[in-house]
Amino acid sequence: MDATITLTVDGRERTLTVDTRTTVLDALREHLDVTSPKKGCDHGQCGSCTVLLDGRRALPCLALAVAHDGADVTTADGLATDGELHPVARAFLDADAYQCGYCTPGQVCSAAAVLAEAGEGWPSAVTPDLDAERVTLDRSEIAERMSGNLCRCGAYANIVDAVASVAGTDGGAR
């Protein structure tokens, strides 16, 4: 069974007809040639496909496209504005926070969301004060919050450096 839906992808409205079994991820990759979100497991286990779905990080491999008619999707590619890399993306370059690059767009989207979530006071499993207005993104907070995004090349140490540099908690290191 097919359905016609509309998605706003990286600021551009796209109308497409999908099988009702099609995930948002496959709608992006197979229908719209938007391949910035990567497919690493298709089961919500690796985080490679992480995008911002209506402003929050989400795994489009676990979302059916027909259930997200009208949604706003921002990929790592869409985080760039006017040809300027997003500060998180630039920090990943500066810290060499990637190697093969396959998990990287998902890491970048996740990190951008982590900064927003901490700014809004969302606690994590390692947050000492659950009622704080803001969460300071020290290394353990960053590592905890980025742990939904697997990296097989083992760039985690540099990923934490990159996110800390944007959060301003790296003490100017590296």
Binding site: T35, K38, Q99
Partner: protein, 703 residues
């Protein structure tokens, strides 16, 4: 022979960001399954659900009735392959099943959903034979392979180790095991294949560690000229060995492409399929015996290995070779024996041999340090050999002792109280450990490189093309080859553009054995020298020349390896047994470090994978079904961000003119060597519990 001339480093040795970085952080770099081609056909395979036997019937009618299904391939109708000598590649050629998860069919459809539904509806009937799927030295008949990967002697014997053990003042005699592990690059193996019937050509977009290898293997299997197989692979989402050899998935996609001429067949493996079709690291059982004086000087070193292989195709991991070159001992023996099972074909996984072998060898050395009451750093220094212990060749360069000393200094080792189970802080036992690392320095012949000069009249700016069918699997090869070319030509690195990952340019050897930069870089240097010899310093627009990797005559005279020392701090929770690794440091001596940015990432990447092996990785084979039961990333655990604490790597600058003109040694694998051992050794120091298996589990630490 006079000492060979080395390149003068200008760009080499300077930190340089990856040239493809912006495309990777935005996700616009195209990986194999992402090349936009019109009217793709999606492939979903049908996998054997028995581990051994044969297909007796296959009913495709329900699959063919699915809306959108284009074709169904089975053993009954697939094209005959020209070369069936390699059973791993003889896809859909007969009804025999050699392991669970083997291909028995494939469904092609206009959409991925229809292909998957179709595959679910193919009905296969089997006749199952008796089988064995779990390594068990007591159940099977072990055999000695003719050689171990890639061509090392199966056994090595020097002196009389048994006699020396009998006379030794101190003996360590223990058995170590490592689990089955799967490479699991984050990008699943993927291909898009187009068959052009006019003239008979394959165009293959593949995720591979070597386009030239894919080309030659596909040409062989299909009986074609290599020139009729194009392979394109600009970006590769990791491989760690699994994309180093051709696997059956590419053969299946090629067979499928022949069924739908002109239409691109797209086949990205699912994560689950990655557990049976593209290789893995064998489990190992390693019996190590060390004989030593009371001061810890080795008199005997024995490393006997039992591991598995597949009835479908032999792969013999060279697990004991680590013990052939690291420590001095006058009497020594290493052996490898295989248990042939009805399992998927094992293959390369990061540092095959050295990785699991170093786990046993380096934990055993820690046990010897405890038995002799000698500091484990000092113990390793005391057993430093003057020359390669087996061949007697001098090392071209070897700075293991310096790595140990520098690492100890930086890690604060001198303050360490050796007493195990002596530091309990906030409910956590705390300890530190050390292990050595080593990896051979390889250079493979068979790569070529083109260098082309441009000086467009329009702007007069000079520009150099460097073309070689190398692979950048995340190593930074594209970036580093540019640095090498710049220094070989004596030009600004920013004027050099490197093309890799395409059989349209000169062939290259595989990104494996930590040989890539040495092999490809040597070809680039050769091309640059030929270019200057022919065209001098004032070439004309369009001048070009091809070079090739020369043989290294010095490898006859010298043993060549990189070395390192790893240190770790481990916390083990006193009540839950949870293991954490807040600190890990590696110090390496690996020739000239060509790019400090990408090199550091390689080192800590390897260490992180070793940490992952120590704490998590364990593919659980079900003896009743021949199936890896935890075949996804929720159940097969790999290290995540929160597993990694303060991790760093540094290096000792080594000048080695004998390895290659750059003076570089391979660095892609040494980081994982010794990494699991250092975690186990630190866990012993923390808890007094000696864990002799990887991964370590919480119940190892609970009474």
């Amino acid at each position: 022979m006079s000492t060979p001339e080395m390149l003068t480093p200008r760009a080499m040795g300077t930190p340089r960001r990856r040239v493809e970085g912006p495309a990777k952080v935005t996700g616009t770099a195209r990986y194999a399954a992402e090349h936009p081609l019109d009217r793709p056909v999606h492939l979903h395979p049908v996998l054997a659900t028995i581990p051994r036997g044969r297909v007796t019937a296959i009913d495709t009618s329900a699959a063919e009735a699915v809306d959108g299904v284009v074709a169904v391939l089975t053993t009954r109708d697939a094209d005959a392959l020209a070369d069936t000598s390699d059973r791993e590649f003889t896809v859909l050629q007969d009804d025999e099943i050699g392991f669970r998860g083997q291909y028995v069919g494939a469904v092609l459809a206009d959409t991925p959903e229809a292909a998957r539904e179709g595959a679910d509806r193919v009905e296969v009937t089997y006749e199952q034979d008796d089988f064995r799927a779990v390594l068990d030295p007591d159940a099977g008949e072990l055999y000695a392979p003719d050689a171990v990967n890639p061509a090392f002697a199966t056994d090595s014997v020097i002196g009389d180790a048994d006699a020396a053990l009998g006379e030794a003042e101190v003996v360590v005699d223990a058995t170590y095991t490592t689990a089955t592990t799967h490479n699991n690059p984050l990008e699943p193996h993927s291909s898009i294949v187009v068959w052009e019937p006019d003239g008979g050509r394959f165009t293959i977009f593949d995720s591979t560690q070597g386009v030239s290898t894919t080309r030659s293997n596909v040409a062989t299997v299909f009986g074609m000229d290599e020139a009729d197989v194009d392979v394109i692979s600009p970006h590769v989402g990791g491989g760690f060995g699994s994309k180093g050899n051709l696997h059956a998935n590419v053969v299946l996609a090629c067979l499928a492409a022949r069924r739908v001429p002109g239409r691109p067949v797209k086949y990205p493996l699912t994560r689950q399929q990655m557990f049976s079709l593209v290789g893995y690291r064998t489990p190992t059982i390693q019996h190590v015996r060390l004989g030593a004086t009371r001061e810890g000087r080795l008199s005997a070193l024995v490393h006997d290995v039992v591991e598995q292989t597949s009835r479908t195709k032999e792969f013999a991991e060279q697990t004991a070779t680590y013990s052939r070159s690291v420590y001095a001992a006058p009497h020594r023996r290493t052996t490898h024996r295989l248990d042939m099972l009805d399992v998927p074909v094992p293959s390369w996984m990061r540092a095959p041999g050295e990785c699991p072998g170093s786990f046993a060898a380096e934990v055993a050395m820690d046990e010897l340090a405890v038995a002799c009451d000698v500091d484990p750093v000092e113990l390793r220094i005391r057993n430093e050999p003057d020359a390669d212990p087996e061949t007697g060749k001098p090392f071209s360069s070897r700075h293991l002792v310096e790595c140990l000393r520098r690492g100890a200094d930086r890690f604060g080792w001198s303050r360490r109280d050796p007493t195990p189970r002596a530091r309990l802080v906030d409910g956590w036992w705390s300890g530190t450990g050390v292990a050595a690392s080593a990896y051979p320095t390889n250079r493979s012949p068979g790569s070529g490189a083109t260098i082309r000069y441009h000086r467009p009249a329009a702007d007069g700016a000079e520009h150099w093309d460097v073309e070689i069918a190398a692979a950048d699997i995340g190593t930074g090869a594209r970036t580093v080859l540019g640095q090498i070319a710049a220094d070989a030509l004596g030009v600004d690195v920013d004027t050099v553009e490197v093309t890799v990952g395409d059989t349209a340019v000169p062939p290259a050897t595989v990104a494996g054995g930590s040989s890539g930069t040495a092999s490809w870089g040597s070809a680039v240097v050769d091309a640059a020298q030929r270019f200057r010899a022919k065209y001098g310093t004032d070439p004309s627009d369009g001048d070009e020349i091809e070079g090739a990797t020369p043989e290294n005559d010095w490898s006859e005279h010298y043993a060549m390896s990189a070395f390192g020392a790893q240190f770790a701090e481990v916390l083990v929770h006193a009540d839950t047994g949870e293991v954490r690794v807040p600190r890990m440091l590696g110090v390496f001596a690996a020739g000239r470090i060509l790019n400090p940015v990408t090199a550091r990432s390689q080192f800590i990447g390897g260490m992180t994978m070793g940490l992952s092996m120590a704490l998590h990785e364990d593919s659980v084979m079900d003896p009743r079904s021949g199936h890896v039961v935890n075949h996804d990333l929720a159940n097969y655990h790999i290290a995540s961000c929160a597993d990694v604490g303060d991790m760093d790597a540094e290096w000792i600058d080594e000048e080695d003119p004998y390895v290659n003109p750059m003076g570089s040694k391979g660095i892609g694998e040494i980081g994982i060597v010794g990494a699991a051992a250092v975690v186990a050794n630190a866990a012993y120091h923390a808890t007094g519990v000696r864990v002799r298996s990887a991964p370590m589990l919480v119940d190892h630490f609970l009474d």
